[in-house]
């Protein structure tokens, strides 16, 4: 049933690059067996014996660094393309410089694919993934096809109730349009294993399983495998959890007992298409963000230099307009960053990099960056921090981001009074409260607060539009740390954001560790 891991022959002598490549393969969730050979001579010998030897088979793909000892990459390529069997193996050239690629062209060597190192590590992952998906499966196992019109789909059905499972299987068989292949498992643990071992077009997931219950089931699944679309099954009268699941990253939900065959098939088809669109959105955003960074840098730095008077005297009126331009550019930069980050969070692509640090110190650092803007508005920024250090094992820069976003909000929506940060230990959590004396949030707006792109009507009136992503980002980041965030607010009196993070226990916090893998 399972595809065997992809056999990769990696001809490379630099340990750093090997490590980076391994990391990319892990990120892309490509199951592989890596054979590393650090010189050309040995690599050629290995490839030649692989044709006849029982000990090892030819690899599925060869990744070749051009700059290796003994026989260099060019010579290795020559040996490969002069051999009728070896030249069929996909080859990825791995090089740091365009110069080698020019040289390859000069040699008129027939290489099929090359990838430049490092910057294009993403490209490397994509190239290997393409090869992985295209390779011929052994023992008549049929290929996973991406194109659903071709009619072959692999479904992973995660359901512990045998009657429900049989019903679903029946629904699938009723439609003859497709050649379905279902694999059923009862436990989340088994499902995770299936997903890491083989390819599935879609997962049909019951949230209540023997080893995991509720939305947590979905979270764990997405944390392990974010690229496969998920359709969630819920019980009758329990649509709320279905809606929540869709917000958490499921592509659709179905209510058991209300499903017809047509509806079921359509839901699976849409789920697959929706996931494709999500992926495209992610790639587009990443691309746009990257392409915008240079022009934004140029505009920002040019205007800064003029505004600072580095290119000659600037009168007050000019300075004012330059200042307005700069703050607009900064907002634009913030929007692009928030968009990229929130998309990553949504797709479960962000990993938390933990370190041990003192929260009070971080709070003081972040506050320092805000002092000037608060003073400008005539507001006071105060803090109450415990005298002893508050140690956390968390992603320092991400927690800093949560604080920054919350302070940004407080600053934006408060016109008089003060903003206060209180940090204290409470039982087994560390609590951080950021309260302001601002305009407050209407009760009916509170449920919308942490959702993406929700620009609250009451705030829009004041012409204070942010990205609508700040609080969504805060919530997701806090939850990635196994913490929670809440809000209390009264119109005209002020708003209080309260977030808690688990206290450092020993060296490792297991739950957040899960998200990391």
């Amino acid at each position: 049933m399972n595809m065997r891991p992809l056999d990769i022959l990696f001809i490379e002598d630099c340990q750093e690059d090997i490590d980076l490549a391994k990391e990319v393969l892990r990120d892309e969730k490509i199951k592989n067996r890596l054979k590393i050979i650090n010189n050309g001579e040995e690599a050629v010998a290995y490839l030649k014996t692989s044709k006849s030897s029982q000990a090892h088979f030819p690899p599925d793909v060869i990744v070749l660094d051009l700059n290796i000892p003994k026989k260099n990459g060019f010579e290795v390529i020559k040996e490969i393309i002069n051999d009728n069997e070896l030249k069929k193996i996909p080859l990825i050239i791995f090089t740091t410089s365009d110069l080698s690629v020019e040289a390859l062209e000069k040699y008129k060597l027939d290489f099929r694919q090359y990838v430049k190192k490092t910057i294009d590590f993403h490209e490397f992952g994509e190239a290997v993934k393409t090869i992985d998906q295209k390779r011929q499966p052994q023992q008549n196992e049929f290929m996973p096809k991406k194109d659903i019109n071709k009619g072959e789909l692999k479904i992973l059905l995660v359901e512990d109730n045998i009657e429900d499972a049989e019903l679903i299987e029946q629904l699938i068989w009723m439609k003859e349009k497709y050649q379905w292949k279902t694999q059923r498992v009862e436990r989340l643990e088994e499902a995770l294993k299936c997903l890491s071992d083989g390819y599935f077009d879609v997962v049909v997931l019951d949230l209540f399983l023997p080893d995991s219950r509720g939305l947590d089931t979905l979270n764990k699944l997405i944390a392990k495998q974010s690229s496969t679309p998920v359709v969630v099954m819920t019980g009758l009268n329990d649509e709320t959890i279905g809606c929540q699941a869709v917000q958490k990253g499921a592509q659709d939900y179905l209510v058991k007992g209300q499903i017809t065959s047509d509806m079921f098939i359509r839901s699976l088809e849409y789920a697959i298409e929706r996931k494709k669109l999500e992926r495209m959105k992610d790639e587009l955003l990443s691309y746009v963000n990257h392409e915008l960074s240079n022009p934004l840098t140029i505009i920002k730095e040019s205007i800064s230099q003029i505004a600072e008077g580095l290119l000659g005297d600037v009168n007050a009126k000019q300075k004012h307009f330059l200042g307005t331009s700069l703050s607009s550019i900064n907002r634009l930069i913030m929007i692009t960053e928030d968009l990229l980050l929130s998309t990553k969070l949504e797709l479960g692509k962000l990993s938390i990099e933990k370190e041990i640090f003192n929260l009070s110190e971080l709070v003081r650092e972040i506050m320092a960056t805000f002092q000037a803007s608060f003073a400008q508005k005539g507001l006071e920024l105060k803090s109450v921090l415990p005298s002893e250090a508050i140690k956390l094992n968390a992603d320092r820069s991400r927690i800093g981001q949560v604080l920054t976003n919350l302070l940004n909000n407080a600053l934006k929506y408060t016109s008089q009074g003060d903003v206060k940060i209180i940090v204290e230990e409470k039982g087994n959590v560390v609590q951080c409260v950021i309260s302001d004396t601002g305009q407050g949030i209407a009760e009916e707006d509170i449920p919308k607060l942490f959702k993406k792109y929700e620009q609250l009507l009451s705030h829009k009136r004041k012409g204070q539009n942010g990205t609508g992503l700040g609080l969504f980002i805060c919530k997701t980041l806090v939850e990635l740390h196994a913490g929670r965030i809440d809000v209390e607010s009264h119109l005209g009196i002020g708003t209080k954001f309260i977030f808690t993070l688990p206290k450092m226990q020993g060296d490792i916090d297991e739950r957040a560790e899960d998200f990391n893998n």
Binding site: E16, D19, L20, E23, V24, D27, T96, S97, D98, L99, K116, K117, T118, I119, F121, H122, S286, N289, H290, S293, N294, L296, T297, I298, K300, E301, S302, S304, Q305, L310, I329, I333, E337, L340, K344, K349, E353
Partner: protein
């Protein structure tokens, strides 16, 4: 006066010129290179006190430039990596050995100057 020399390796001409302008006003001597190959050649010829290095460069990328300076040249001239925030750099950051400091584009000029100053001071102390 013996001004300190900074090498900017950046393929976006306008960015290189803007940084050059600002640094010259601060009293530094500035040399620029538009790709990794030229950057390495300039480094060997000019022996700058500090290098501002873009990650995504033609011919030889910033990561490799950094490695060649450290590994092949056995040189510990401070290197400040200036790169755009994207998925890939996120992953690579921290794994690229040898750079002393990272900054993201679009940068705050004040912060850039501060980092440059502190890197140069640390280098002088040693």
């Amino acid at each position: 006066m013996n001004a300190q020399k900074i090498l900017i390796i950046e393929d976006e001409f306008d960015i290189a010129q803007l940084i050059k302008h600002r640094l010259e006003l601060e009293g530094y001597r500035v040399i620029t290179a538009a790709d990794g190959e030229d950057g390495l050649a300039q480094f060997i010829k000019e022996r700058p006190d500090l290098i501002l290095l873009d990650l995504n460069l033609p011919k030889i990328n910033g990561y490799e430039v950094c490695r060649r300076i450290r590994r092949d040249q056995h040189d510990d001239t401070p290197i400040l990596m200036l790169t755009s925030k994207s998925e890939i750099t996120d992953r690579i950051i921290g794994r690229v050995k040898g750079a002393d400091c990272y900054m993201f584009k679009p940068f705050e000029a004040g912060q850039l100057l501060k980092e440059i100053k502190s890197l140069l001071e640390t280098a002088n102390d040693q």
